[in-house]
């Protein structure tokens, strides 16, 4: 494969690290490591952007009253926070990990479609600019500001909103195209580029996680693209998909959105379900427990995720039959998820454990995501759900589901493979400090949100009754601690990348298993010129 590609290139790119210097290297690159790195850096910049926005929100919510901003601006912040974290941070971070690690893990020279890979990444920065430009223009006094409908963009509010919404629609289109391209590449690579002898059921779980994710993305992103296009038509071309006066139905939007939005949750989760077993197994020095069960579990989650969407809509009004169906099907997801949890814990059980930074993050993910999953059970109850829905309980629930996965899980992966990427071990003391700051900050942010939600505080309000003050104050303190933890992460990674730590060996962790640990650290620019054979 690598040799075939070399014919098309103007220089002999197959063996040595030949690339133009400076900026052009990054614009032209078709190398999976370069592109993976760019994805990860882009995702982290987005994490900081979305994080800074929500810190603005938490600062405003520190006490009742409007202190720092007006509601119009507040609504932009919460909306951009959601869209940026889901589409700008979590998905690109996963694609970045896939890009960097899949060829190393599968024993392939590169991703299957390198040029498409380049294109897939370079759509992202313009999309991010498209999404946020109205926000910055708004700050400078130009235009109505960014999209302000909440990331769910419920019609007809999104039909009524200013032109920031149009920018968001096109940004969603571009982000969708990017993730579809990335997904095609992941699927083609996994199905065609595995080392000889690596059957699908010998393939590491990492690849299974990304395969399910990629298939889900190709299923759902076109649906969202269609949906936002319908909003665009309603806004400008007098169609009435979502207005009752013209024969449409606002709730149709919710069906379209959540048909994308619910599998999206698993799109964010499943890559991490692929990453975490590698880490747990490495630091337990014990093979992965229930490999096949985990594979089937992931496919089960993927399949179920596309048939449960309307549990996000119990308060929208639904027939009894509809409520029962979506309630019981949602409960069924607990089964494959429990399989994964069982296997993760059984992987650790009776191992020879040590708690280096990646392990701490992986274990932290298992514990916190466990609580996120459990709270989902009561939200599935269609009759009890209205009391939690769109209150802060829901906000806390999905942050317990999403932060430990997309951020802590991804960081477990980054810390785990960092020696392979940089050739240096990370500073364990800093890594551990980072972990504990995350644990304290995260729980202090979101435990109060569960409780203030039970007390009756709705989400997405810029100001609140005085009885919610105490919990909100705590939550804001927690949020700033959590926000600060990410600076520790940057410092630690930069220090490691600049060669701050001990030189890493090819097999950087004692218990690490897999093809990626058979090549030197840092891994060569082109990893496997000759594919290894798996027995």
């Amino acid at each position: 494969m690598a040799h075939d590609l070399a014919h098309d290139l103007p220089h002999d790119a197959a063996h040595d690290a030949h690339y133009p210097g400076g900026l052009m290297r990054w614009i032209q690159t078709t190398n999976h490591k370069d592109i993976g790195l760019m994805y990860l850096i882009f995702a982290f910049v987005m994490l900081l952007t979305g994080g800074a926005m929500i810190l603005g929100v938490r600062a405003e919510l520190f006490k009742p009253g409007l202190q720092l901003m007006q509601p119009e601006f507040f609504n932009q912040l919460i909306t951009l926070h959601g869209l940026i974290m889901v589409f700008g941070f979590a998905m690109p971070a996963a694609t970045g990990l896939a890009n960097y690690m899949l060829p190393l893990i599968l024993g392939a020279p590169d991703m299957a479609l390198p040029r498409l890979n380049n294109w897939g990444f370079w759509i992202l920065p313009p999309a991010a600019i498209m999404l946020t430009l109205p926000f910055f223009l708004g700050i400078m006094g130009v235009g109505p500001g960014a999209v302000d409908t909440g990331w769910t963009m419920y019609a007809p509010l999104s039909v009524q909103s200013g032109w920031g919404m149009d920018f968001a629609i096109f940004a969603v289109h571009m982000l969708g195209v990017s993730s579809i391209l990335g997904s095609i590449n992941v699927i083609v690579t996994i199905l065609n580029m595995r080392a000889p002898g690596m059957t699908l059921f010998k393939m590491p779980l990492f690849a299974h996680g990304f395969l399910v994710t990629a298939i889900l993305l190709i299923t759902i992103m076109p649906v969202l693209a269609g949906g936002v296009t319908m909003v665009l038509m309603d806004r400008h071309f007098d169609t009435h998909f979502f207005t009752a006066a013209g024969g449409g139905d606002p709730v149709l939007w919710q069906h379209i959105f959540w048909f994308m939005g619910h599998p999206e949750v698993y799109v964010l989760l499943l890559p991490i379900c692929g990453v975490v077993p590698h880490v747990l197994s490495a630091f337990a020095r014990k093979p992965v427990y229930g490999y096949k069960a985990q594979v089937y579990g992931m496919w089960g989650i993927g399949a179920l995720s596309v048939v449960v969407w309307a549990h996000h809509m119990f308060t929208s009004g639904m027939s009894v039959g509809g409520q029962l169906y979506f309630m019981y099907s949602t409960m069924l997801i607990s089964l494959p998820l429990a399989v994964l949890f069982f296997c993760w814990i059984a992987t650790i059980w009776r191992g020879s454990l040590s708690f280096e930074t990646p392990m701490l993050f992986a274990v932290g993910f298992v514990i916190l995501f466990g609580w996120g999953g459990l709270t989902g059970l009561v939200l599935a109850d269609a009759a009890a759900d209205p009391q939690y829905h769109n209150a802060y309980f829901l906000v806390a629930h999905f942050h317990y589901a999403l932060y430990p996965t997309t951020v802590m899980g991804a960081m477990a992966g980054v810390y785990y493979w960092l020696p392979k990427w940089t050739g240096h071990m990370l500073d364990e003391r800093l890594g551990k400090l980072h972990f504990w700051v995350v644990m304290i900050g995260f729980n202090l942010t979101f435990i109060p949100q569960f409780l203030v939600g039970l007390a009756g505080m709705p989400r997405r309000i810029p100001d609140y009754p005085v009885m919610f003050s105490e919990w909100n104050m705590l939550s804001t303190i927690g949020a700033f601690i959590l926000g600060a933890s990410h600076l520790l992460f940057i410092y630690n990674v930069v220090k490691c990348a600049r060669g701050g730590g001990v030189k890493a060996e090819a097999k950087s962790w004692e218990g690490a298993q897999g093809l990626e640990w058979t090549v030197p650290s840092p891994a060569p620019y082109h990893t496997f010129d000759v594919q290894p054979t798996i027995k």
Partner: protein, 274 residues
């Protein structure tokens, strides 16, 4: 685990800085309708089960973290799945338990609760139409020909921190909805513009107001009192400023109030006893 200890310490330290615990609430407000009672019951049951499961599994993990530590000389086992029949039974039992929990412990009461929640028409004694509007609520008693709107009265100075905040800051309106105690009321929701959501936590009911469509729910409030809630579907810039206030009064007081409304008297008579 150290993590949990640190966590608890962190939370306690942060709590220590606040002057009092009085402001902290830990559960739903006192329920006053059959649905709210049912929801609180489910919630309590859930919290007991979920917290037990969570801390049970956590304890198991902590035990493993401590005992199976390399630094304590633990040697790694190499099992990757159940082998004997006994092991299979052990492995499958948590999932059997989970299924019973999902479809038995929660699933069966949930089935009846959903039926109850949606039983809006049987024995309903009064119909109230609730119309969401940017950014106020309109209430209508169609059979009585009474119709009025209800909007926030909290002064702008309080919101902008120019005046001290009142007790019912953001939860006070000019014309509250008045309802008779102990009567099943059928609510019909709709909207004039975007989607709103009508919620009173003490009633345990929340239903979206969808423009162009009718949605319904019911409530039968068993205690006289004033109940407050807020719009809970993002509906634009004043979303945080369209509260719901319901005065639940005796049958007689309700009649008086209704008559005064019919007579076109705008002032609220709900709180004045006959």
């Amino acid at each position: 685990m150290q993590g949990l200890k640190n966590l608890v310490l962190g939370v306690i330290a942060a709590l220590g800085t606040s002057a009092t615990w009085a402001g902290y609430s830990w559960s739903f407000p006192q329920p006053v309708t059959p649905i709210a009672h049912e929801t609180l019951h489910v919630h309590n049951l859930f919290m007991v089960i979920a917290l037990t499961l969570f801390f049970g599994v956590l304890a198991l993990m902590l035990y493993s973290f401590y005992t199976h530590r390399k630094s304590r000389g633990a040697m790694a086992a190499d099992f990757t799945g159940p082998k004997s029949r006994k092991q299979w039974l052990w492995v499958l039992s948590p999932f059997a338990f989970l299924l019973i929990l999902d479809y038995g412990v929660f699933g069966i009461p949930a089935f009846h609760a959903v039926k109850m929640y949606e039983d809006t028409k049987n024995d309903a004694e009064l119909v109230v139409k609730v119309t969401g509007s940017q950014w106020l609520w309109q209430y209508e008693f169609p059979s009585e020909g009474v119709r009025f709107s209800s909007r926030l009265t909290t002064p702008r100075e309080q919101i902008e921190n120019l005046a001290p905040k009142g007790e019912n800051y953001l939860l006070e309106v000019d014309n509250p909805l008045v309802l008779p105690v102990g009567k099943k009321i059928r609510f019909i929701t709709t909207s004039n513009d975007v989607i709103h959501s009508w919620w009173v936590p003490a009633f345990g009911v929340k239903r979206d107001a969808v423009p162009g469509f009718l949605r319904e729910f019911w409530a039968k409030v068993d205690t006289v009192g004033t109940y407050r809630g807020q719009c809970s579907e993002l509906c634009g810039k004043e979303h945080g400023f369209m509260p719901v206030v319901v005065n639940v009064v005796s049958e007689a007081e309700f009649k008086t109030w209704l008559d005064s409304k019919k007579a076109g008297v705008v002032a609220v008579a709900a709180k004045t006893s006959p």
